[in-house]
Amino acid sequence: MMIYAITAIAILISIALALTRAIMGPTSYDRILSANAIGTKTVLLIGVMGFLAGRPDFLDLALVYALVNFIGTLAVLKYFKFGTLRGTLSKPADNS
């Protein structure tokens, strides 16, 4: 169905925009945010692509992403909040 293709293209554009933000992003938090957003969009794209290819039994993947992406984000934020995972270093610099 054509709508799947349309949606997939919309998602791709959205990913591209988020990636631009990730590359430009002034602060590190921007990059985390866009990485997280790209993760969510990947979940969507996997689902849509499964239907596009006519074999929608691959949603396990989307599930994995939905669960694991969260862990990655949390780990990163933990790292930020407590300085480092331990807190021996000074605050990580924001700018690249």
């Binding site: 169905m1 709508i3 799947y4 349309i6 949606t7 919309a10 998602i11 554009i13 959205s14 990913i15 591209a16 925009l17 988020a18 631009t20 933000r21 602060t27 938090y29 921007d30 985390i32 945010l33 866009s34 997280n36 957003a37 969510t40 969009k41 979940v43 969507l44 689902g47 849509v48 239907f51 929608p56 039994d57 949603l59 396990d60 989307a62 599930l63 939905a66 669960l67 992406n69 969260f70 984000t73 949390l74 934020l77 930020f80 909040k81 605050k91």
Partner: protein
């Protein structure tokens, strides 16, 4: 019946796509981090919801639709949590929101 489901799918997926585009532009164009979190966190979740519900109309009631529902539930829990943690962490780190609208005017008044 099929017709109705198809139309529903079309509508939902289109709405989801539009929301996703809005998210993308929001991520790119909004001025500071907190507004970007706003764009990324909320519209994304709703778009996921719309698109996956639309897809599950197509799949009928099967293992696939159950999985779709599970994904929706997980995203529904994790995505706002991640946004929350992100906003909170950045706030703790001392990143101040940009207040050039309402708040700035108030402060200017106080100063005067």
């Amino acid at each position: 019946m099929d017709m109705i489901l198809d139309i529903a799918t079309w509508v939902l997926l289109l709405a989801g796509s539009v929301l996703l585009l809005i998210t993308g532009f929001g991520l790119l164009r909004l001025p500071d981090l907190y507004t970007r979190i706003h764009a990324g966190g909320m519209a994304d979740t709703l778009a996921t919801f719309l698109i996956f519900v639309g897809l599950s109309f197509q799949s009928g009631f099967s293992l696939v639709s159950v999985k779709l529902l599970l994904v929706i539930v997980f995203i529904f829990f994790t995505s706002p949590t991640a946004s929350y943690a992100l906003a909170q962490a950045s706030f703790v780190a001392g990143l101040k929101p940009k207040l050039d609208g309402f708040g700035a005017r108030e402060r200017a008044k106080e100063d005067a």
